[in-house]
């Protein structure tokens, strides 16, 4: 049981970080399907720059920089250039997945996977039994994740920026009338979102694991996106959803070891996706409440065909 909880924290931390990123994008009214691409870019850049400089801090800073730059380009394409948010977001994901796999070959001359020594510190170590196992061997980012989520909540609910952002997401026309520039607000939200994706990716490659592998995010960016929906676009809700999906993942890993005969791992792994469909369906109430929000991103996502 302790082992499952420890694995839960380890699986959940990247999900929660990227889900928080998704919350910022959602609050700005952007249906951000590029999270997966930003996440893997963050994972790769941390390893690449970390290996080059020998400093994990520099690696993470570089990852944040690259992901913010990509987010700015994404903003430029979907905002001023009027591209479709969903298609461009999926494109961003492919650019991230393809680009990192390509760069892995071009820079390190390897296919598949590289190991790295430049990793995040783990504050608590050496506990091998009892409840302490849960917190042992967790990277510093796992410890910081709750603080980041709380900070996101404060920013979104209590700051001028957060309230303006909510206005932009829910009704950009009214926000514009009130003197807020929705386009600039979206850019800021996407930049924050990019930075958080970089952290999520970094936790995956140099926190939980010590390597970068092609396609290592394996849909986690989309699961994080699902956590945002599941958590009703609220940072705490999204974090709880991320934690739950991390738990499902941990159970899936355990079931592979212990009870493969009875519950195939694939069915455990389906849980987040099936639940999401149910949640979105049953959330008729949520749906009606968010109809105004719908109008918000309608301005961005309306397909022009």
């Amino acid at each position: 049981m302790e082992q499952i909880l420890a694995t839960t924290l380890r699986s959940a931390a990247p999900l929660v970080l990227v889900a928080t990123a998704g919350v910022f994008a959602f609050r700005a009214g952007i249906f951000h399907l590029g999270l997966e691409g930003l996440m893997i870019t963050g994972a790769f850049t941390t390893v690449a720059v970390g290996e080059a400089t020998g400093s994990v801090e520099l690696g993470i800073l570089a990852a944040i920089g690259v992901c913010m730059a990509l987010s700015a380009v994404y903003w430029w394409v979907i905002g001023p250039l009027g591209a479709n948010v969903i298609i461009a977001g999926l494109g961003l994901t492919s650019i991230g997945l393809g680009g990192t796999a390509f760069a892995l070959g071009a820079i390190f001359d390897v296919r598949g996977s590289i190991f790295t020594d430049v990793v995040l510190p783990r504050p608590v170590r050496g506990i091998t039994s009892g409840p302490g196992v849960i917190i042992a061997e967790q990277s510093i980012l796992v410890w910081l994740t709750p603080l980041i989520v709380l900070a996101a909540w404060v920013v979104l609910r209590r700051s001028r920026f957060g309230l303006r952002l909510a206005a932009v997401g829910e009704y950009p026309f009214a926000a514009r009338t009130a003197g807020v520039n929705p386009s600039i607000m979206r850019l800021q939200a996407l930049l924050i979102s990019g930075a958080l994706c970089a952290l999520g990716g970094a936790e995956l490659s140099v926190g939980a694991l010590h390597n970068f592998t092609e396609n290592m995010t394996n849909g986690r960016g989309f699961i994080a996106f699902v956590a945002v929906i599941f958590g009703v676009w609220h940072p705490i809700g999204a974090a709880l959803a991320g934690l739950f999906f991390g738990f499902a993942d941990a159970v899936g890993i355990q079931s592979q070891i212990n009870i493969t005969e009875r519950v195939p791992r694939e069915f455990v792994l389906m849980i987040p996706f099936v639940l999401t469909i149910f949640a979105v369906w049953l959330g008729g109430l949520w749906r009606r409440r968010s109809l105004e929000a719908e109008a918000g991103y309608a301005e961005l996502r309306e397909p022009d065909y």
Binding site: V77, G91, G99, F102, V280
Partner: protein, 348 residues
């Protein structure tokens, strides 16, 4: 008409820009862009068997892409092609392996029917939720993709697994040779006839029937369509069903054609590439045919390129990403946003 020409022109420019950007990345990474280009031409057209291989890769893109066209025309953002394709392939596999001793023609027809049904069922669930409860179809079709991929993984690693398989990735048993409609090249008269018939039927449906016009109306303005007495829910269900049916059919063709067995996570990009194909094809039937052959050629080339320049397959994923990232950019909208600057420009 000028609108159509303008869109054609801007799409060509945007696809060109995506290619230039990708070429730039390759050039920075030290690949000879000239070599890559000549390798692509060889791998897609001139090398032995290259043209056949182009057609082989164009077929799934075309079938799924036509499904995307149908959905997008009616204004439904069905991005679940990947899952529907997998479910079609899985259904065909279950029928083919479950009825191994049956007469080949019957089994193939049965498996294809099962694939079409499974694909459309996989699409109709999100479709029903969309028309009945206004549940966002982008989200649900995306989720169905992941579930479909896991169903495929379950089948190939579990009940249908080839026990003698030694590879790292799980694969199913092979279907009997008699049940195949092509050799491993993936192209035969049967397949070409089938695909040709599908193209013509979809074209007739979309561009030459009342229903096709109704779909376009619903896509342009559902509110107006409803006020004119069109049953928007019915149109929605039919389009979702047809999209899924085409993707499911693509799955059956893949199994009974070049594949002969299913491998966990095969063709992982095909659903997304089909969306790119449909968009580059300007959501028209013939445009999609051209775009599918074009992207099929690239797919064929990327498998050939390692022989010439050692270019790894992820480069193609990167290219698809670039195209998707830019292809929906609207030049017109950009101009409109700049319009308020005009008075200042005049004042100068």
């Amino acid at each position: 008409m000028t609108g159509g020409l303008q869109r054609l022109g801007s799409t060509i420019v945007l696809v060109g820009v995506s290619f230039l950007l990708t070429a730039l990345v390759l050039w920075i990474s030290g690949y000879g862009v000239g070599d890559v280009f000549s390798g692509t031409v060889q791998g897609a057209i001139t090398a032995t068997g290259a043209a056949t291989s182009t057609v082989r890769w164009a077929i799934p893109l075309l079938l799924i892409g036509l499904g995307v066209v149908i959905g997008f025309r009616a204004g439904f953002f069905n991005i679940g092609g990947q899952g529907q394709f997998y479910m079609g392939a899985c259904a065909a596999l279950v029928v083919s392996l479950g009825w191994r001793g049956g007469p080949a023609t019957l089994v193939i027809l049965g498996a294809t029917a099962a694939a079409v049904l499974a694909g459309s069922a996989w699409s109709l669930l999100p479709g029903y939720l969309r028309v009945r409860f206004a549940t966002d179809e982008v989200l649900t079709t995306l989720m169905m993709n992941f579930i479909g991929a896991l169903v495929l993984q379950y089948l190939t690693a579990g009940p249908m697994r080839n026990p003698s398989g030694t590879g790292q990735t799980a694969a199913s048993e092979r279907i009997p040779e008699a049940f195949r409609i092509t050799d491993s090249s993936g192209v035969s008269a049967t397949v070409l006839l089938l695909v040709g018939a599908v193209i013509v039927l979809v074209w007739l449906l979309l561009d030459r029937t009342r229903f096709g016009l109704t779909m376009t109306l619903v896509g342009r303005n559902p509110t107006m369509a409803r006020w004119q007495g069109i049953d928007v829910s019915r149109v929605g269900l039919v389009t979702f069903g047809l999209s899924g049916a085409l993707a499911g059919l693509a799955g059956a063709v893949e199994l009974h054609g070049p594949g002969a067995r299913l491998v966990t996570g095969f063709s992982p990009e095909v659903g997304f590439t089909a969306v790119v194909v449909a968009l580059v094809g300007l959501l028209s039937v013939w445009g999609t045919v051209v775009a599918a052959i074009f992207f099929g050629g690239l797919q064929s080339a990327i498998l050939f390129l390692p022989i010439v320049t050692d270019l790894p397959p992820p480069a193609l994923v990167l290219l698809h990403g670039m195209v998707a990232f830019l292809v929906t950019v609207k030049f017109r909208s950009a101009r409109r946003r700049r319009a308020p600057l005009a008075p200042e420009a005049l004042a100068d």
